[in-house]
Amino acid sequence: MNLQTIIQDGALGPAAMWRVEGAGALVCFEGIVRPIEAEQPIAGLRYETYDPMAERELQQLAAQAIRDFGLLDVRVEHSRGFVANGDCSFRLRLAAVHRQEALAAMDWFIDRMKRDVPIWKRPVLVADPSSATI
């Protein structure tokens, strides 16, 4: 079973080359910080993570995705801290023999992550850069 989860400071860089033996489908989703939240321009988002639990939950989700959808490989990357608008804060890459299971697993994984993984985000408003601090 191949899975990898990474939580790192700041925006994610470009995706590295990725090949999986036996895969007929490599699907990559990248979450990009939008410039507008709730009709207000934002400089970016500040992500707060409960690292040990977030890592554990992401690994459990990845393992379940491999088991339930028959995936060959799952790689998850998520940012913590500030990510400017236009930059990537989340990347999910799935490999499968056929596209159907990879595409179905993609939606499933993201829905579950947004429900279960202890990561929070706050907008940093252009008009008030201190808006994401406590």
Partner: protein, 83 residues
């Protein structure tokens, strides 16, 4: 005993802190539901948020009957918003 409880996101905003101190009853069996009830009792500013939250014990989601022991890492996990 007194327990430290980690808080994040909207909970940290509401409390103005990232940890809570919570006094727990001196009984043989303290459960997650007891901890959550004591948090609500001792930190009224968090009561509304607690309706949609759960306790994590040592990084695992707890149910109401999960027993909490001295030294366990406790965290309140409210609505999350990653991605």
């Amino acid at each position: 005993m007194t327990a430290k409880v980690l808080i994040f996101g909207p909970f940290a905003d509401a409390a103005g802190a990232r940890t809570l101190e919570v006094c727990l009853p001196e009984t043989d069996r303290v459960t997650a539901s007891v901890v959550m009830a004591q948090v609500a009792e001792q930190h009224p500013a968090l009561r509304a948020l607690l309706r949609h939250a759960m306790l994590a014990v040592n990084c695992s989601k707890a149910d109401d009957t999960t027993v909490v022991r001295p030294g366990d890492e406790l965290a309140i996990i409210g609505l999350v918003s990653g991605g």
